[in-house]
């Protein structure tokens, strides 16, 4: 790298209390200054708003699903409405919330800051990806208004190609376009991390969040094109009846499942890897010590991303795939559990002899560790051929992946949001309410999803609109938990919005963290740093250097 340390930027000098006179939020005003911005920080906020809308919509559908399932008869909605609800819940949550979630919001905001760059490598492409995401989202919403889709988010053929008459193609186009957005975001991150690091910032001095984001980007780049072509083939089959997936014309519907899961299994790691990166940051910061086994944790991220492409067939153990392919996929799936286990053990070991504060982000991080452990270990059960043959496509797997995606990915996302909120907005949120929200979400989550493990082992299939009455007790528990969980999610929404206006001003480094993003002001100036930072030490070297003056310590 041939970076030349640049002189002071023109972004404005700091106020005496450390808050800059102008920063990225008040440098320019007006809708146009936001919609045409090329500043990665503003684009991150655009994403934050849009994914929150989709999270709210997807959550609303989850509430309706749980209402329906409170009684066994299926008396609230007609079955076709129910089928659309769970399909759209899956599509919105996966493609429009979880996959863009942490990379596009936290990653966009933090990667240039963490590596001491002025922006991502391709700022225009970054804005383009937000627009693509939004256009994809609008297609999907448009389809939603026209009746949605009832194929399940997996779009299995030939059901999706020859049998349903809902808006499969519109939603497919939406996902296709959003996929471009995902690819471009990943591409931007990879190039940025390779080419734009500050002087002295070697690979093993990178914060673990950057490692996580890098691994995530690899999956976005390598996996997304394959689901794009799969969707394209579904659309072609649906409109032109070309026979690729139509058994009546010699096509093999199983081929679709291969192409679909080639992406959609690694996609799970798009959701969880950045969350793991966040948790690594949180655990180190709130224990005030380096992560135990930094290199193991860093390489585990890459290992998970790469091995993630070796295991997709474990979604197809009972699908008519060859039993021997199943055996191969099973043993490879076991291997991917090892780097995950390494991460969990290393986080736990980091706590040992730490100086642990019980701040809100830490509570979320600990919630993540607990829930991810259960989610991961039940995942191991599902990778076991003999067990999967029984619990495949039952509520067991619903519970498992919600432990990973909601208990893991969303806990990490919220933990990260609570951690960096002062940096993003320059404001603090109320600590009491935020700690309460972490606890409410943790409890609500477990009450919602733990009973589903039992339901699944008892044999309740997923995507059932009505079910035999003996399953009702556990379903009612689950629905009750969902109410608590929903309330838990509303709390951050309320106090975050409150804090933007009424929250006390945040100092530049409220948590006493290391990391370049804490050495600039809160909120950061447009150019991120007033002087080009130069890195001389590994990450998480405590005590944190006090570059910017610190004034008040939270609420």
């Amino acid at each position: 790298m041939t970076t030349t340390p640049s002189a002071a930027r023109t972004a404005g000098a700091a106020m005496p209390d450390g808050s800059p006179r102008t920063h990225y939020l008040n440098a320019t005003y007006g809708l146009k200054s936001w919609l045409l911005t090329r500043d990665h920080k503003r684009i991150a906020l655009l994403y934050l708003v849009s994914i929150s809308v989709f999270f709210a919509l997807g959550g609303l559908m989850a509430v309706l699903i749980r209402m329906e399932l409170a009684t066994p008869e299926g008396d609230l909605f007609q079955p076709d409405i129910y089928n659309r609800l769970f399909t759209m819940h899956g599509v919105l949550m996966i493609f429009f919330f979880l996959i863009p979630g942490i990379p596009a919001v936290l990653g966009n905001f933090l990667i240039p800051l963490m590596i001491g760059a002025r922006d991502l490598a391709f700022p225009r492409i970054n804005l383009l990806s937000w627009y693509l995401y939004s256009i994809g989202g609008l297609f999907t919403l448009w389809a939603l208004l026209h009746g949605g889709v009832d194929t399940g988010w997996t779009f299995y053929t030939p059901l999706s190609t020859n049998y349903v008459n809902t808006s499969v193609i519109t939603v497919g186009v939406g996902i296709f376009i959003a996929g471009f957005s995902s690819i471009l975001t990943g591409l931007n991150f990879v190039v940025t991390i390779h080419r734009m690091r500050a002087p002295g910032l070697t690979w093993f001095r990178l914060p673990l969040f950057v490692w996580g984001a890098y691994a995530t980007s690899l999956i976005q780049i390598l996996g997304t094109p394959v689901i794009a072509i799969a969707i394209l083939l579904v659309a072609a089959e649906r409109t032109l009846h070309i026979g690729i997936f139509d058994p009546k014309l010699g096509g093999d519907p199983i081929l679709f499942q291969h192409l679909f899961w080639f992406y959609s299994h690694p996609a799970v790691y798009i959701m969880i890897l950045p969350s793991m990166g966040v948790v690594s940051e949180l655990v180190a910061t709130f224990s005030r010590k380096p992560i135990f086994g930094y290199k193991f944790v860093a390489f585990a991220s890459i290992g998970i991303a790469v091995l993630g492409f070796f295991v997709w067939g474990h979604h197809m153990f009972v699908s008519g795939q060859s039993i021997y392919a199943g055996v191969i996929f099973s043993v490879l799936s076991m291997l991917v559990a090892v780097p995950s286990a390494i991460k969990v053990f290393n986080w736990t070991a980091t706590l040992y002899k730490g100086s642990i504060s019980w701040d809100t982000p830490m509570l979320y991080a600990l919630g993540f560790i607990g829930l991810f452990t259960i989610g991961g270990l039940t995942g191991v059960m599902l990778a076991t051929l003999g067990i999967d043959a029984h619990v495949h496509d039952t509520y067991f797997i619903i519970a498992h992946f919600h432990y990973i995606m909601v208990g893991g990915a969303i806990m990490g996302y919220l933990g990260g949001l609570h951690f960096w909120w002062p940096k993003i907005t320059g404001r603090m949120y109320p600590l009491f309410w935020s700690k309460l929200s972490a606890i409410v979400i943790f409890i609500g989550f477990n009450v919602t999803f733990f009973p589903q493990f039992i339901l699944g082992y008892l044999g309740m299939p997923r995507r059932y609109h009505s079910y035999p009455p003996e399953f009702q007790v556990l379903n009612v528990m689950s629905s009750a938990g969902a109410t608590v969980l929903g309330l838990g999610y509303l709390m951050p929404l309320v106090y975050f919005i409150w804090s933007i206006r009424y929250g006390p001003k945040a100092p530049s480094n409220p948590w006493g963290a290391t990391g370049l993003e804490w050495q600039t002001t809160s909120p950061p100036p447009v150019e991120n740093f007033l002087t080009q930072p130069i890195v001389t030490a590994p990450p998480y070297t405590y005590p944190a250097p006090k570059r910017a003056p610190e004034v008040t310590r939270g609420v």
Binding site: L233, I242, G251
Partner: protein
């Protein structure tokens, strides 16, 4: 990429980069990363092709024989020639010869259009012979129903390839105009280089499509 005026004001260097080399390396890496996604995009189709060819080898051979090997070979030559002119155009940009680059780009554009026109004739022929999948599909020979799979894949693969060609031609046209007006300097011809990489990639896909579709067991 106009300078924003922050920090440095070197012509053609975006405000968030420190040097031309950093900017060029980023652009090259970004373009190649994009091409990798394209490889996997077409890769999904190649995978489908491989599966069905292994399931129905006989009918794939028979269907392949209905394609014109002359036209296929001609198009291969045309496309490789266009890659040559493109490579020379990039070299022109690299050495600061904008006018030469523009002329070579126009030549590339013409060759690309020739390819598409020939492809159009081939499509037309398929249409006349009822080899287009759908209700009017008709194929003489053994295992006719599965012939439709070959032609579905044929149209999907060559169609997507042609779509990439069209995008490429638009890009080449734009770059030719920019090159003629002297927009590319030895320090920053990144957009020209990127367009070149894209064009060569389209050529690469064809290099594999040609034997897979046209040359199955001609003996």
């Amino acid at each position: 990429m106009a300078s924003e005026g922050h920090g440095h004001d070197l012509p053609g260097l975006a405000h968030h980069f420190d040097s031309y080399a950093q900017q060029r390396d980023s652009a090259t890496l970004g373009m190649w990363t994009f091409l990798v996604t394209e490889i996997l995009f077409f890769g999904g189709l190649f995978a489908a092709y491989g599966v069905y060819r292994s399931l129905y080898p006989e009918v794939f051979r028979a269907s392949s024989h209905t394609l014109s090997i002359q036209l296929g070979t001609f198009n291969t030559v045309v496309l490789i020639a266009s890659s040559l002119t493109m490579a020379l155009a990039v070299r022109g940009g690299q050495t600061g010869k904008g006018k030469l680059a523009a002329a070579l780009l126009v030549l590339t554009l013409i060759l690309g259009s020739v390819f598409l026109v020939v492809k159009g004739f081939e499509y037309h022929e398929k249409f006349v012979e009822h080899h287009v999948p759908g209700a009017s599909f008709h194929f003489e020979g053994p295992d006719a129903p599965h012939a439709q799979l070959f032609f579905s894949l044929y149209f999907l693969m060559t169609g997507l390839h042609a779509l990439h060609m069209i995008i490429g031609i638009v890009l080449v046209g734009y770059v030719a105009i920019r090159a003629a007006s002297g927009a590319y300097t030895p320090e920053n011809y990144n957009f020209l280089e990127g367009t070149g990489l894209y064009w060569h990639f389209v050529d690469l896909i064809w290099i594999f499509l040609f034997p897979l579709l046209y040359l199955i067991g001609r003996h």
